[in-house]
């Protein structure tokens, strides 16, 4: 007689409630309500995501429009005005861009790259993982060997490789407009393997379960079994790795820009901002590095904490 059994017994006798009410009362949400750290993390995430999504409306300047920049505004310290009368809350950088605005726009780029790359990795990894886990045999071996090769190469190297190949294939004139997409594909391809591994394992477990047998007996198409039956049941761990993967993807993008590949400097991401800013570490213009770095840490930390919480909340044994 364990505690969770008790919970479910009680749940069984509880009257049906509205959807929102059910979400509010669900164990997952309950553990959320109980953890102040998680609530804080969610708020920070929400704030940063919201700020970056609405950057064009809330940012004081448009740092991505070169024509609007005044080089002579460069290196204005935080909370002061430049000679041309522009006020910079977080100071300005070496191009006279408002650091606050670049952070807002930069988070937008980082989040877009991070989220898209993670989604791409999830779609790819989950599909291959499902196929490997369900089909088994040669399909499984081939997919898993490819995953091994991928895992044996550091993600950064994989991303560098894909970035390099893309540069070769795409005509140079389109490089810059494609850069973000190349980044997404590169980081996504570098990270699919862990999703594939997780999903494969979970699929092999689910495949044995009787509800799958039941569906097979009645002749449900394997693809439908995979998508309708197995997929929803293996998505839990994917969600968890996904949140952590998102944080990783954002940092990976930063590291890639440190190594000199990444988005164009005229449309910098958080990572590019940090790369630019670290050049000013000793020269006194600390704000160019400090604010983007703090933002990146906050973002990564918040998303990681959410991932942690989700993992604990979704693991019935840790409840």
């Amino acid at each position: 007689m364990s505690a969770q059994e008790t919970t479910s017994t009680i749940a069984a006798v509880a009257p049906p409630r509205s959807f929102l009410r059910r979400v509010w009362d669900s164990d997952v949400f309950y553990s959320f309500r109980r953890s102040p750290v998680t609530i804080l993390a969610a708020l920070v995430t929400l704030l940063l995501v919201g700020a970056s999504v609405f950057a064009p409306w809330i940012a004081p300047y448009d740092p991505f429009n070169p024509a609007s920049l005044n080089l002579m505004d460069g290196f204005t310290p935080p909370m002061s005005s430049s000679m041309s009368g522009n006020y910079f809350l977080f100071g300005s950088d070496h191009q006279g861009r408002d650091v606050l605005s670049t952070i807002l726009y930069g988070s937008r780029v980082s989040l877009f790259v991070g989220v898209s790359a993670t989604l791409f990795a999830i779609v790819l990894g989950v599909s291959l993982g499902l196929a490997a886990g369900y089909r088994g045999g040669v399909t499984d071996s081939v997919i898993m060997r490819i995953a091994d090769i991928q895992l044996s190469f550091p993600a950064i190297l994989i991303a560098l490789l894909i970035f390099g190949i893309a540069r070769g294939i795409i005509p140079p004139s389109r490089h810059e407009s494609m850069a973000v997409w190349v980044l997404i594909v590169a980081i996504g391809l570098a990270n699919w393997a862990q999703f594939a591994r997780t999903v494969r394992g979970a699929t092999m477990v689910e495949r044995q379960k009787d509800y799958v047998s039941a569906a097979r007996i009645m002749g449900v198409h394997p693809l439908r079994i995979l998508v309708r039956h197995i997929l929803p049941n293996v998505l839990g761990p994917v969600l968890v790795i996904g949140t952590i993967g998102l944080a990783l993807a954002i940092i990976e993008e930063a590291t890639l820009s440190f190594l000199g590949v990444g988005v164009p400097p005229t449309q910098p991401s958080l990572g590019t901002l940090i790369r630019i800013g670290q050049g000013f570490l000793f020269s006194g213009e600390w704000w160019i590095l400090f604010f983007p770095a703090v933002t990146l840490v906050l973002l990564a930390l918040a998303v990681n904490l959410l991932g942690d919480w989700l993992r604990d909340a979704l693991n019935p044994r840790l409840r």
Partner: protein, 524 residues
């Protein structure tokens, strides 16, 4: 408070370190010499390092003047304008004890112009090298070559016997997988002997007590390549190195204001400029698809008027540049202050010119820039993007490492680009040959925009053989006038070099960025 603490600690450390290391200098720069083989690579860092071990016939001082080194005199043979005569220094010995003779010079110059040598273009006009006697060498050129001595300031002299002994008569053919003794071992006549070397890590040089010159203040050099700029600066701040050669411009102020550290700055013999694609064919990266806007002189003028060189100097370069109106550094023969003048930025006029040229709304174009080659190269390009944006030209910035930028340049695969040009011969002809002359055969290798002016081509070719220097200089002036008026290139500035060091060390900035540490003196 932080600064105070730092100051105190640096002083404390300086007090401990200085007496002990008076003769040893720890010298840090961004990258290591590639090889010890003096003719294998034509690359500044490698030459700079090898200048301490090997010596050249002639060298350049910090003002850019030619000075004697292994050759004490050099002149064109009175009866034959195609022969250069070099009188060699007496009593010079190699590190291995061998005497330095004319045979060594003949051997070395021949080795430098051999097929596998990377120095051979500098000796392309040499027809033959003859040892007249032990201390006289004659270099026979294929035609009159008044400027040949400018080409040999990085051509080092090796010992013939040593080379034969170690089977390094030929320059290494690394493509064929051959290893070569000279890559890792050296026997020069220079002031320092190589003690140990771990590539990319550290090399130790000690004073050669058989050197012909007087004993330098620095008797031991520990050479430390530190790739990361922040780490390099940190190493100086923490007292772990004595001289940092490649100082990021943004750190100059901080370093200068740090007690115990000083920064020497000086102009480098290198011009930073933007280039355009010429010709009637439409640009690849532009929204103007029926013609080439850059081919219109008005557009080029508008662009020049949009560019604020002083702003770039003040903000991007932190004052560490010399804005330029002509695509040549001031050291170079042919430079004049009149040429170097540039117009004040005038956005309104630039816009008017653009409209006049038929682009009232501007146009789009992609700018190719390296991001790890020149001082703040990417930031300069970024600033240009902003400035051109203000007159309606929407520039997309394509920023790449030099490894990927170079092929684009060599293949003329760009519409608009940033490049830097050093002038090792200190003569304008070097610039004209490669940047202005029509891309054809041995000329115009870096005429990326494929500019072509047959009239200029003829004048440029005449420079190579003109022995009358006054007449030659006049021609140079004519060429520059056309180049400037035609706005073939858009010069921005000359780079300024900064060396940071302990404040008891004196080392002047060398325009070729090749300081010799045996010229270091100590004290205020």
């Amino acid at each position: 408070m932080r600064k105070l603490l730092l100051t105190a600690s640096v002083i404390a450390l300086g007090a401990v370190v200085t007496p002990a290391s008076a003769e040893t200098v720890r010298w840090a720069r961004a990258s290591d010499a590639l090889t010890l083989d003096p003719h294998s690579q034509n690359q500044g860092v490698t030459h700079n390092f090898n200048h301490h071990i090997y010596e050249t016939l002639l060298n350049r001082d910090v003002e850019g003047n030619l000075i004697p080194r292994l050759a004490t005199e050099w002149y064109i043979k009175a009866d034959d304008p195609t022969v250069w005569v070099f009188k060699l220094r007496e009593g010079v010995k190699f590190h291995g004890g061998q005497d330095f003779t004319a045979e060594d010079v003949v051997f070395s110059l021949n080795r430098a112009r051999s097929d596998k040598s990377n120095m051979r273009q500098l000796h392309a006009d040499v027809a033959d090298v003859i040892a007249v006697d032990d201390l006289t060498v004659e270099v026979k050129m294929s035609g009159p070559s008044p400027l040949y001595p400018n080409n040999i300031t990085n051509t080092f002299i090796m010992d013939k016997g040593w080379s034969e002994e170690h089977d390094v008569v030929e320059v290494q053919d690394f493509g064929a997988g051959e290893d070569n003794y000279a890559v890792r071992n050296a026997n020069g006549t220079g002031p320092y002997v190589l003690q140990s070397r771990q590539p990319d890590d550290r090399s130790v040089l000690a004073w050669f007590d058989g050197h012909w010159d007087e004993k330098p203040a620095v008797t031991e050099i520990i050479y430390l390549p530190i790739k990361e700029a922040a780490t390099r600066v940190a190493a100086l701040l923490s007292g772990e190195v004595d001289i940092v050669q490649d100082v990021p411009v943004q750190d100059i102020e901080r370093l200068s204001s740090t007690a115990g550290v000083k920064v020497e700055t000086g102009p480098e013999n290198r011009i930073i400029y933007f280039g355009y694609k010429f010709g009637d064919a439409p640009l690849k990266s532009s929204n103007v698809t029926d013609k080439n806007p850059f081919n219109d002189a008005k557009v080029r003028e508008a662009i020049e008027l949009a560019v604020d060189r002083e702003a770039i100097k003040r903000v991007v370069m932190r004052g560490q540049s010399v804005p330029a109106g002509v695509a040549t550094p001031p050291f170079v023969n042919g430079w004049t202050p009149e040429l170097d003048a540039f117009p004040a930025p005038d956005v309104a006029k630039a816009k008017a010119l653009l409209a006049e040229a038929g682009y009232p709304d501007g146009f789009t174009v992609t700018l190719d820039t390296p991001n790890d080659r020149y001082v703040n190269d990417e930031a300069i390009s970024q600033a240009i993007v902003g400035m051109l944006g203000q007159i309606g030209i929407k520039v997309t910035l394509a920023s790449r490492p030099i490894a990927q930028h170079s092929p684009i340049i060599l293949n003329s695969d760009t519409d608009f680009y940033l490049l830097g040009w050093g002038v090792p011969t200190f003569d304008s002809a070097y610039i004209f040959n490669d940047l202005v002359h029509t891309k054809d055969g041995k000329y115009g290798a870096y005429n990326v925009g494929l500019y072509s002016n047959p009239e200029l081509d003829a004048k440029i070719q005449s420079l190579g053989t003109e022995v009358d220097l006054d007449k030659r200089n006049a021609t140079i002036g004519e060429i520059w006038k056309v180049v400037k008026e035609d706005r073939v290139l858009l010069p921005i500035h000359n780079q300024v070099l900064a060396y940071a060091m302990k404040d008891n060390i004196n080392l002047a900035v060398h325009p070729e960025n090749q300081p010799l540490l045996n010229t270091v003196t100590y004290g205020e």
